[in-house]
Amino acid sequence: MIHRVRMIMLVVGVLGTAVVFGAAVAGMPGFGGDQHPYRDLAVAAAFQRATANVVSSINFDQRALDTFGEETILVASVAGVAALLRPVRSERRRRVRPGVPVLESTRLLTVIFFPITVLVGIDVVAHGAITPGGGFQGGVVLATGLHLLYVGGRYRLLERMRPVRFFEITEGAGLVIFIAIGLAGLALTGELFRNVIPYGDLGQLVSSGTVVLLSCAVGMAVVSSVVVLLAGFLDQALALVEVPDADHSDDEAAR
């Protein structure tokens, strides 16, 4: 019965939302038109600040305070996950056995792609101001590169290459560096996140003022966040085992 009520509510809600959404869309400018007032303003501002990648200019210069909020959300969620995934009372940590069977071809591809992916990640972070990319994208690529070791069956090596304590510190440090650059703008010009470094020439590696620095700070925070996050989840899957006790012995046997 409650199931049927729920389905009726769902149909009513979906149809109602579809009608309201359709009415809203009908009043919008058509797809692919040439009226983009924000685009015009953002492109002019990015050009004036010699930032070739307009998206990075928006994220790390024109809307830097929003990006600070976004980065804070990410770091806060990592803290939340770490709190949720800490070992509970009936669990204990074990050493993860090496030598998980992995296909030779997977192992080979991991060896080839591990350095390439890490290099590409660093490149994407460092060139965030002039080519597609930036701190968020590059940070995720870097963290993915590290975790290729796990795909290749080298979990113990991965554990050695990403000391979680260290990445917890760099995660916070990325956030602190980001706000410190913003406060430097406040101290020098009276505007938070003001781009205070000389802009340089459009398209050069060292151009666009603070965008490169903020991008690197975000890259540091993101790579650390992803590493700490995945460390928590991998721990759950691999390193934590439940100690069988009287209440759950049947469940343990079934697993």
């Binding site: 769902l10 685009r39 492109v43 929003d66 959300i73 989840f233």
Partner: protein, 121 residues
Amino acid sequence: MSAAGFAHYYPYGVAGAIVLLGVIGIAISRDLVHAVVCLSVCQSGTYVFLLAVGYQYGGLAPIFGATVHRSTPVVDPVVQALSLTDIVVSAAVTSMLLALVIQIAKRRRTVDPDELRSLEG
């Protein structure tokens, strides 16, 4: 609606459909992991919507270089920056929810929302 009018609003319709499909998936879900993935599907609809809003026929990527100059028509970089924010928040939410699902699975030994209805004292 004419064919041209349809083409003008079709991408927005796709975005709305993705969001609603995600909502339907959450509502009929029998597994919390599935529900979390459906929420990600919902949020993907918002990426499609943002990018559709910023698109311009013939517009290039908003990266200055050999082919893009100050007055070249480009697609809207503002919505691209917004969808980047969207993706990051989506990743944060998904990871939090998955961690909650792990905790629920440990405590209640089920991830079926229908079996979790009674509140634990």
